[in-house]
């Protein structure tokens, strides 16, 4: 059991536990906090894989912005514990089997084809911030600019939606 593998298992367990907690918690704020745990664990995993910039972005944007937004909304709406309604029989009975099926399919696909994957390269070599930014501003400049436009649209949308009816 090498160090990376050990770290991987720890972080993986953390992520899975966070996800399970997300599902099982009744109060949405607890679910939000669980999600933050998952995201931090994932950031750790990104670091383990040598994607430092992505890890940093994950923490700052996902954890620091998006999840904060979620928490704000939960507090704004005064969310309470979940109501125990159950109007959809289909979801009740078919939910778990279907989810298992989906996961199983994906896992099977992964398992069958993992032999074709080459061994991972040593971390840090190819994916430095410098490389990423070079790519973003040369090959991917067009999608990059589009995303800024997308963010502008999202801002406008959020403003319109949040307006009080006058």
């Amino acid at each position: 059991m090498t160090a990376p593998l050990l770290i991987f298992f720890v972080l993986a367990t953390l992520a899975v536990l966070g996800a399970v907690s997300l599902i099982l918690q009744r109060h949405p704020i607890h679910s939000a906090l669980s999600l933050i745990v998952v995201m931090v664990a994932l950031a750790g995993l990104y670091l383990l894989m040598g994607a430092e910039f992505v890890a940093a972005v994950q923490i700052i944007v996902y954890g620091g912005a998006i999840m904060v937004l979620f928490v704000f909304v939960i507090m704004l709406l005064n969310a309470e514990e979940e109501e125990r309604t159950n109007f959809s029989k289909l979801a009740t009975y078919a939910g778990i089997p279907l989810a298992v099926a989906m996961t199983g399919l994906i896992a099977a696909a992964i398992a069958r084809s993992s032999g074709a994957l080459p061994a991972p390269a040593p971390s840090g070599a190819l994916t430095s911030t410098k490389t990423l930014s070079m790519l973003l501003f040369s090959e991917f400049v067009y999608p990059f600019e589009l995303t800024s436009f997308l963010i502008l649209v999202a801002i406008l949308g959020a403003i319109v939606l949040a307006q009080r009816e006058s």
Partner: protein
């Protein structure tokens, strides 16, 4: 004007009259309608006379002209072709001449009826189709006329369509005719298949020049089958066994209709067809034998029914069926000329008898039952004398027309090679019956004590426009036979000679044939006398109806043939139609399929509806299902060993 070049004008004139009266005549007074109808028919008769004159003067060459193409399909051509030969002369003159007289009569008879314009429109339409039938030069055009006269018969029988019995009778006539037409069509198809043409000239030339062998009796070669099928059509149209049942019911129509269509012209169409195709028939002994037997049997059968009927028109109807039987008997034994001769004389005296009966009914204010008449001789003199003339003619007394024609037929039958003597005996018996029931009619109607209330019924003779045609027809019944009297009587044998080009010459007879003919003629007259005397004895003094039992009842009820047909044919067919074709096929299968598809669609919709439940979570599940399906499809190459094998590797 060379009428023959414009031969189409003879049928066209009545068609124009029919169209004008039919489309415009509803608001016109009777006078104008009559003028149009009589004008068109009269002009047609005049043109027919002119055509005959041209034909005779021009050397009696058969005339044939193609006017326009009707059906052209590959090698097959059926055109609007008309022909004119000796047989056409007889038929056209009979149709237009007797038709014209009956039109005149109808102006008087129908004067007080509603639908006057409709009557004449239909009557003219009938003339058009009948003329097409007799002038046609190919089977297809003849069939047009054939069907057309059937249609007009339906329209005219059901003229008083508000009466249930009349409309039923019209339907019966048309449907029974249709059964015969089925045979006729099959015959036509076989003709086409054998000779590759429906043209008369082509077909007959092929038979004559092809040295086709005569198919001996008992065999069923192609000629026999064709002739039997064509004859099946003739039994329908000319009311022979087994398809005669419509003719007595057809008496529901107005009397002029009975006179024209069901005595003089339409019912003779079958005889005309057999005579026209005599070249085909003479090549099949079996077919001729069948025709002779059926003709003879019908003559006898119908005569027996006529013995006891009480409705004056019914007696005449069965008499018509019987006389048609004689015509077919003549054709069957090979004496086509005699058959056509009898057709002509029958047209005269049967039309006369029907019109006179109409006159009697008109005088009696609508009464048709002979047991409600009596003692009319002194009251309606003209009608009486005319009817007597017709009766004497039909019974076959010298020197009236009926004698010569019937005598010719019976003589030819006697000499027929297959059981001719038996057929002769039956025919003779039928002749005795004919005389009997006709004189029975005379005694019951015109003599004996009046059996009606003289205060309620004002008996008056008919107006001139009804009596003049009667007189003309009576004269024709008298003299019509003279120009055709066989050489035996010293008379000019014009008729047979005239028709020789169409039928083949008569065989020359030896001296002993002469004396045989004389003997047989004497027997025929004797038969007529016998019938008269028996009728006189039974009906003049103390005439009363027979008890409705036993043989009398069977005859009165027409041997229960209609009931038999109802039970054996119509009943099962209706049952089949109702229970199988309607309930099972139409409602069950066809409607069921359509409704089933609709129901299936509804059911599918009902089921699929549940995916749109309005519940977000179930939507989520459906999205998931879709995602799984898409994923499986995309990764199928990798996945299927796992999924099929079921083992995680």
């Amino acid at each position: 004007m060379p009428i023959l070049e414009y031969l189409w004008i003879i049928p066209l004139l009545p068609l124009l009259g029919s169209a004008i009266n039919g489309l415009l005549g509803a608001k016109w007074p009777n006078k104008i309608v009559s003028a149009v109808a009589l004008g068109s028919t009269g002009l047609s008769f005049a043109c027919a006379l002119e055509a005959v004159r041209e034909f005779v003067v021009g050397g009696q060459h058969p005339f044939h002209k193609e006017f326009f193409n009707w059906i052209v399909a590959g090698n097959f051509r059926a055109g609007f072709d008309l022909q004119f030969d000796q047989l056409s002369v007889v038929m056209v003159l009979v149709v237009t001449g007797v038709g014209f007289l009956i039109h005149i009569y109808s102006t008087g008879y129908m004067a007080h009826e509603g639908g006057y314009y409709r009557f004449f429109s239909f009557l003219n339409l009938f003339m058009f189709f009948m003329l097409i039938l007799v002038l046609a030069a190919n089977f297809a055009l003849l069939f047009v006329g054939w069907e057309g006269v059937g249609l007009c018969s339906y329209l005219l029988i059901g003229f008083y369509f508000l009466r249930q019995s009349a409309s039923d009778a019209g339907k019966k006539a048309f449907i029974v005719n249709r059964i015969g037409d089925f045979g006729f069509m099959l015959g036509m198809f076989l003709v086409f298949q054998t000779f590759h043409s429906l043209d008369f000239r082509t077909v007959f030339d092929a038979v004559a020049q092809g040295n086709t062998a005569v198919e001996p009796i008992g065999t069923f070669g192609i000629m026999t089958v064709i002739c039997l099928l064509l004859f099946m059509g003739a039994t329908g149209k000319s009311a022979q066994i087994p398809l005669y049942v419509w003719l007595p019911d057809a008496m529901e129509g107005p009397t002029p209709v009975s006179a024209l269509i069901h005595a003089a012209t339409m019912v003779t169409a079958g005889v005309y067809v057999v005579a026209r195709t005599n070249l085909l028939f003479t090549h099949s002994q079996t077919a001729m034998y069948v025709v002779a037997i059926i003709g003879c049997a019908t003559a006898f059968f119908a005569a027996t029914i006529g013995l006891v009927q009480s409705d004056i028109k019914r007696v005449l109807a069965y008499s018509t069926v019987s006389q048609l039987g004689y015509m077919f008997l003549a054709c069957g034994v090979g004496a086509f000329g005699a058959g056509i001769f009898h057709l002509m004389t029958h047209a005269f005296f049967k039309a006369l008898l029907f019109l006179s009966a109409g006159s009697v009914i008109h005088a009696m204010g609508g009464e048709q039952d002979m047991w409600g008449m009596g003692g009319l001789a002194s009251k309606i003199k003209v009608t009486f004398w005319c009817m007597l003339a017709g009766t004497i003619a039909i019974a076959g007394f010298v020197p009236f027309a009926g004698f010569f024609s019937k005598d010719a037929i019976l003589f030819a039958t006697f000499n027929y090679e297959f059981n001719g003597k038996v057929l002769y005996a039956v025919g003779l018996l039928a002749a005795i019956f004919t005389s009997f029931y006709m004189f029975r009619l005379i005694w019951l109607t015109f003599f004996t004590q009046p059996r009606y209330d003289e205060h309620h019924v004002h008996v008056h003779d008919s107006p001139k426009n009804m009596t003049v045609p009667l007189i003309i027809l009576a004269l024709l019944s008298l003299v019509g036979g003279w120009f055709a009297a066989p050489a035996l009587w010293g008379g000019p044998n014009h008729f047979a000679e005239f028709l020789a080009p169409v039928f083949g010459g008569e065989k020359a007879e030896g001296v002993e044939a002469h004396s045989l003919e004389l003997i047989l003629s004497g027997v025929a007259v004797g038969a007529a006398l016998a019938g008269l005397i028996v009728a006189w004895r039974m009906y003049t003094k103390g005439a009363k109806r027979g008890a409705m039992t036993g043989a009398y009842k069977v005859l009165y009820k027409k041997y229960y043939v209609d009931e038999l047909y109802q039970a054996v044919v119509i009943g099962p067919l209706m049952w089949l139609s109702r229970n199988v074709f309607w309930k099972v096929v139409d409602v069950g299968i066809i409607d069921g399929t359509v409704n089933g598809i609709a129901g299936g669609t509804t059911a599918v919709g009902d089921t699929v509806r549940h995916t749109q439940s309005g519940n977000t979570r179930s939507y989520a599940v459906w999205v998931l299902v879709g995602a799984i399906v898409v994923f499986a499809i995309i990764f199928w190459p990798i996945l299927h060993p796992v999924l099929v094998g079921g083992v995680r590797q």
